[in-house]
Amino acid sequence: MFTGLMLNTWITATAVAVIAGVTGFFAVLRGSSFAAHAIPNGAFAGAAGASLLGLNPFAGLAAFSVAGALGIAGLGRRARHDVATALTFVMMLGLGALFVSWSTEYAQQAYSLLFGEVFGVAADEVLPIVALGAASIAAIAVMFRPLMLSSALPEVAEARGVSARRMELAFLLVMALATSMTVPVVGALLMFSLMIGPAAAARSVTARPLAAIGLAVGIALVTVWTGIVASYQTNWPLGFFVGVLGGVFFLFGRAYGAGRRRMAVRTAAA
């Protein structure tokens, strides 16, 4: 379970969980869960287009996730955030449907882009994913404070010269960067669950921002590692285990948060 191909699986899954935990924290903080869904899922159209043209699917994924980020940020200047995301998403899905219909042997590849091929990671895929993960985390570290300020207190941030529009664009581009490498490995649906579930659970548990990021990464790691073992043993898809574990952690976090609040009320009353 820890040799050869499986070692690649463990390394990439770990990198993906770290990326997902960090970017997911900000996606939930900013209320951008829908964009976190739309960018990886819409990007698969790019892979479909690339394979149609005989290009590397990574190039297509990168082009479409960046185009998705630009589309959401650009339309978001004129429309509500969720509407802008939805419009961008359906445009990408529409193109994806067209590309798939033109191609004859694409169905199998589309399936793996949605659900991942985590057990078939090639050795030469490991390094780019780890490098890109490091790059997106470095980018988030550089813009950490303005991103935090702009996400939590957008009006104050604007008044201090931190443009909400520019922060939105920068954050979506980081998400696109992270997505384009991780989607072929874990799949678009898995990337989405790993971004949102752990981050949502973590913020119910701790009020400290850095601790919440650390906890989101921890939960994402436990989720994929447990998922890999369970999937290896049962032959059931990894996506199933990651989805279920995400839900379980979220409910745990909520119950913990509710319990904490009840304790606080009782302490205040005493």
Binding site: R145, M148, L153, A159, A207
Partner: protein
């Protein structure tokens, strides 16, 4: 002159409509100014001009120092993982790129600000779980920690209970005097501010009247401003601006009572 802020004949148009016309006033260091006017008068718009977020159609704005800003209301969810002390810390350097390492000096400065606004009791609480008055105190600490020369506050007293209003006004007055920070605070009810205001900027019908409370809150001055006859009543130490006819120009809320008939 050593003035901090000067507005010279400022006019603002929004969506093809003239919102403000020929607004002129100055603020000196340490001065406490009330920006008073009914809802929709253009108070928030004027604050946005000073923050550089709203371009002017006419006139000019000259600002001679750093500005702190407390927005009208936070839109933040109760379970947002951000503690009161994190919010105050972001006031120090939240706009800067890169990572900062925690330091004792920084922690002490945050604690000092929390004590100054009376928020140390809930320093580790989530910002989203606090009441409106508590959030205002935290945002005042957030704005003041970087030691701005001018503090702008947009209706910090709206929707607060009487005790919180008194508490926040006295915190502001004390900090302004102690640190020499000039304060420009908007409100639709001038009454809680009358004891502490040096200057009043009264906006209505797109224009502004400027002076001391006694100079501006006069029937002739406000009638000219509103473009209709208004009376100024002083009842139980409170000032009420009352329109003779119900035209809608002078709003009929608790603070600007419209006489019936």
């Amino acid at each position: 002159m050593a003035e901090l802020l000067r507005l010279d004949g400022v006019g603002v148009r929004l969506g093809g409509r003239e919102i403000l016309r020929d607004v002129s006033f100055t603020i000196a260091p340490g001065e406490f100014t009330g920006l008073i006017g009914p809802n929709g008068a253009g108070k928030t718009t004027l604050l946005r001009v000073i923050l550089g977020l709203q371009p002017v159609a006419t006139g000019a704005m000259l600002l001679n120092g750093s500005v702190g800003y407390v927005p009208q209301k936070l839109a933040i969810e109760p379970d947002t993982p951000l503690r009161v002390r994190d919010v105050v810390g972001l006031g120090l350097d939240g706009h800067k790129l890169g990572i900062r390492l925690p330091s004792r000096a920084r922690r002490e400065r945050v604690n000092e600000m929390l004590t100054a606004v009376g928020a140390q009791r809930y320093a580790n609480a989530r910002i989203g779980e606090l009441s409106g008055g508590e959030q205002q105190r935290v945002m005042i600490a957030h704005a003041l920690i970087a030691r701005p020369r001018l503090l702008l506050l947009d209706e910090p007293l709206a929707n607060l209970d009487i005790a919180s209003v008194g508490g926040i006004v006295s915190v502001l007055a004390r900090l302004a005097r102690a640190e020499g920070t000039a304060v420009l605070i908007s409100a639709h009810d001038m009454n809680p501010l009358v004891p502490v205001m040096d200057t009043i900027v009264y906006v209505a019908s797109g224009r502004a009247a400027v002076g001391s409370t006694d100079q501006v809150v006069q029937p002739e001055v406000l009638s000219r401003l509103y473009g209709q006859h208004v009376d100024v009543l002083r009842v139980h130490g409170r000032i009420l601006v009352v329109a003779a006819e119900e035209t809608g120009a002078v709003p009929a809320d608790a603070e600007h009572v419209t006489a019936a008939g």
